[in-house]
Amino acid sequence: MADPLMIFDILLALSIVALATASLSVRDQFTMIVLFIIFGLLSALAWVRLSAPDVALAEAAIGTGVTGALLLKTLHHLRFVSGSRNRQPMTGVAPLPPVPLGVTLANAAFCGLITLGLAAGFLGAPAAGPGFDMLVAEAMPTSGVAHPVTGVLLNFRAYDTLMEVVVLLAAVVAVWQIERGLSEAPAPVMGVVWQGFARLALPAIVVVGTYLLWGGAEAPGGAFQGGAVLAAMGLLLLLTRAYVPQPGHRGIARWAFVLGTGVFALVALLVAGGGRVAFEYPLEHAKTLILLIEGMVTISIAVTLAALFHGREPVALTTGGRHDT
């Protein structure tokens, strides 16, 4: 007899696959992005089902939310640039020349083969493989946090996390570099209702974000999720033009970007000594230090994600904008 949960699983899985396929095959780009967002949310749901609420939260907030916003903003920009705001540009301004059907089919066939191969590999993997959980369970008491995921992120594999923040930093530096001097498409017009909503929502978002951050120590949540929620606030501010970045804000923005990375790295480095190595927080200060790091990282993440959404560095624009200024 079919387990209802299993039916749910299968249906969910099928819809995820269907949505993935649909989002890639639908012609209209806006629809594509919307389908993708739904896909992302369903994936998050699946991950909740797999007892990974932190991941689900991150996926929903960052992987789907922020990514979706970025995609939409880019689509908007593209339509503006190509002067076809109301039309549906199929493939962008300068589409790639079409590829012979045979090549496409070969691609698809290869990918199908790969998928089959990977599936075979997956099916051949041990059903209950060895994991880290024993090690984590052993180490948790000395980690300074109660939630294992946070422990892994900020203690056991803090180096990874630091580098992840570095990736974000690199991204924002790269984006600023890429888009320097780029004239901006006018922000999508947000209705009055939205602006009102934004004003109302902002405090709530801050609360939620802080809660996630704080709660990350014991329960699902943490710096990334919190940061994402706070970034959503930034997005709203930017979208409603409640906040317009000014050239003068660049300095503070830079500091905000590097805050998380800098503090994280400094702490990691400075705890070394007295027999301890880098990232080895003294047990008595572990929780404090981790919270400090998390807080700073959250701020950086939030600002960075918002900046990534906004794109170009806020500078006084010159016309043309192609050349260095």
Binding site: L96, P97, V99, P100, V103, A106, N107, F110, C111, L113, I114, G117
Partner: protein, 587 residues
């Protein structure tokens, strides 16, 4: 054993010759001409060996018989006479002196077959002489001054030869005290006797310096007559020596030396003389002389080293048969060539002529080459002093023959032999082709026919190509030289380089075009490939393709690996040394 078969064999040609005198019978006789040797052939092919019959009443006590050697002689001689007869029937149909030719032809045939069947010295001589004298008529047949000169020369030598042979036989018989050839062979004959017989027989054989008559005579005689003269009758000399001289029993070192030296001289001198001839049949005649030189080598070796004779004899017989068929084919082919009128037909005949020509020259695996190789092998049994020279001489004789054949082929085009006006072309062609076939098939047939005597042949190496190739090359060189001399060297140079120059020019332009095209292609190809790859985004395909390929390869590899190596294998053996655990990771 009854005498009847022998009598039949000899009587048929004789009676036919006599019948020709009766005009009403002539047409029938001519029709019978090819079949005249058939009784003799039948006797040789079907009779049980050894045969012997006696007719004391005839001459000085006639004795007939066949042994293994003479049987083989009868077979190829008979075949040749058949073919020549077939050819003569058409060749002579409209000839004014056909009757006289027919008589002489049949008389000679009788003599030839008779001496092969004779077992006593007297009858041998008795058949030998008519054959020689009847041939005079054949040589003289055309009555041209040239023929008359040739006939004069011929008859002179014949007389000389007959005298010597006669004297020799006389002495021999006296010493042996018997007419029977077996007795002669068993007696240690005195030197003069042997010498005289040798001279007499060598005249027939055309060994230098007794060869002068041969080429003119063969050139002058009508084609069918030349064929038998060259193919069959001169072998009578060989047969005579084999049958009369005490070879294999007594050592005649001086005779042998002379014979061998004469043979060697003959081989090459005949070449030198032959290449100067313009008449194709004279060239063939010299070629016969040259070939007889080879036989002389064998005879000489037999005289010098009797114990080698056993090995040499079968080879000599084979060589005789080989020469008879090939040379007969060439002579008949000359006639066939002359009978053709269209250039295409002439060309075709020429091509057919090349076959016996190459056989004669000793193309590997042909009877010529096999015979020579077998002779070389046989010489191994003889004097080691002579051996290298003989071997070289034999090899070079291939070159010489090739050159002569080349000369011959050139001459039939440059100086085409004459042919009777209304000869039936196909009719003269058929005997020729039959002989060509026989000549080609000889090595195969020989085994069946000769029985044990074929052993040296079937064991012989196929022979080397180089003498023939060298000969062809030299002939080509000579031809080119002659051509150059004729038209002047400068013109010739221009002429031969003209196609080369044209070719070079064309090749240059083609090459240049090709090179340009190649360069264009070399420039265009990578560009096209690169651009296509870019446009079709093959790089993306490569990503997927490579993953799939790697998956397949590794999966296949691990499957094979598992199949080949049980999991229980030691880890050290399963993994090459590179996969040993680094010390750092060791617990």
């Amino acid at each position: 054993m009854s005498l009847a078969p022998f009598v039949t064999a000899l009587a048929l040609p004789l009676l036919l010759a006599l019948a020709l005198i009766w005009p009403q019978a002539r047409s029938l006789v001519w029709r019978m001409m090819p079949f005249a040797p058939l009784p003799a052939l039948a006797l040789a092919l079907l009779g049980d060996l050894p045969m012997h019959a006696q007719a004391d009443w005839m001459i000085l006590g006639l004795q007939f018989g066949l042994d293994e050697i003479s049987r083989l002689f009868v077979i190829f001689t008979g075949l040749l006479w058949c073919a020549a007869g077939a050819s003569a029937r058409h060749w002579m149909r409209h000839d004014a002196r056909a009757t006289s030719f027919g008589v002489m032809f049949l008389m000679a045939q009788t003599g030839n077959l008779g001496l092969l069947l004779a077992l006593d010295a007297a009858s041998f001589y008795a058949f030998f002489a008519p054959m020689s004298f009847a041939s005079y008529g054949l040589v003289l047949h055309s009555r041209t001054p040239q023929a008359q000169g040739a006939a004069r020369l011929y008859i002179g030598f014949v007389v000389l030869g007959e005298l010597a042979l006669f004297a020799g036989l006389a002495l021999a018989v006296a010493q042996a005290g018997s007419f029977h050839v077996a007795d002669l062979r068993a007696t240690a004959l005195s030197d003069p006797a042997v010498a005289l017989m040798m001279i007499g027989l060598c005249v027939k054989l055309g060994i230098m310096p007794l060869h002068f008559w041969l080429p003119p005579a063969h050139g002058a005689a009508p084609v069918p007559a030349s064929a038998v003269l060259s193919g069959a009758m001169i072998k009578a000399g060989l047969f005579g020596m084999i049958t009369l001289l005490p070879l294999g029993g007594v050592t005649y070192a001086d005779h042998g030396t002379v014979m061998m030296a004469a043979g060697m001289v003959t081989i090459f001198a005949a070449l030198l003389l032959g290449v100067q001839q313009t008449s194709p049949k004279a060239v063939l005649g010299y070629s016969s002389v040259s070939q007889m030189g080879i036989l002389a080598l064998g005879l000489g070796a037999g005289l010098m080293v009797p114990q080698a004779w056993v090995a040499i004899l079968p080879v000599l017989v084979f060589l005789a048969a080989h020469h008879a068929l090939a040379k007969g084919a060439l002579f008949l082919g000359t006639g066939a060539f002359a009978a053709q009128t269209g250039p295409a037909a002439k060309l075709a005949v020429t091509l057919a002529l090349l076959l016996p020509a190459f056989v004669l020259a000793g193309l590997p695996a042909s009877s010529g080459a096999l015979g020579k190789e077998a002779l070389k092998t046989a010489f191994n049994a003889g004097s080691p002093v002579w051996l290298p020279w003989l071997t070289v001489a034999l090899s070079l004789s291939g070159v010489a023959t090739t050159l002569l054949m080349a000369r011959y082929v050139a001459m039939i085009w440059l100086h085409p032999p004459g042919a009777p006006a209304k000869v039936t072309q196909e009719a003269v062609l058929l005997p020729f082709l039959a002989l060509v076939g026989a000549s080609l098939a000889l090595p195969l047939v020989w085994v069946a026919v000769a029985g044990t005597l074929a052993a040296p042949i079937s064991q012989a190496a196929p022979g080397a190509l180089w003498p023939v190739a060298l000969g062809v090359a030299m002939a080509a060189g000579v031809a080119i030289h002659a051509h150059a001399q004729r038209i002047g060297p400068a013109v010739f140079l221009a002429q031969i380089t003209a196609p080369g120059r044209a070719l070079a020019l064309r090749a240059d332009s083609i090459l240049a075009a090709k090179r340009r095209a190649a360069r264009r292609l070399a420039h265009a190809m990578p560009k096209a490939i690169g651009e296509t790859a870019m446009r079709w985004r093959l790089g993306q395909t490569a990503i997927a393709g490579l993953i799939a390929l790697t998956l397949l390869l590794e999966a296949g590899g691990s499957l094979r690996g598992e199949a080949a190596m049980p999991p229980a294998a030691q880890p050290g053996a399963a993994h090459p040394p590179g996969h040993m655990l680094p010390p750092y990771f060791e617990p």
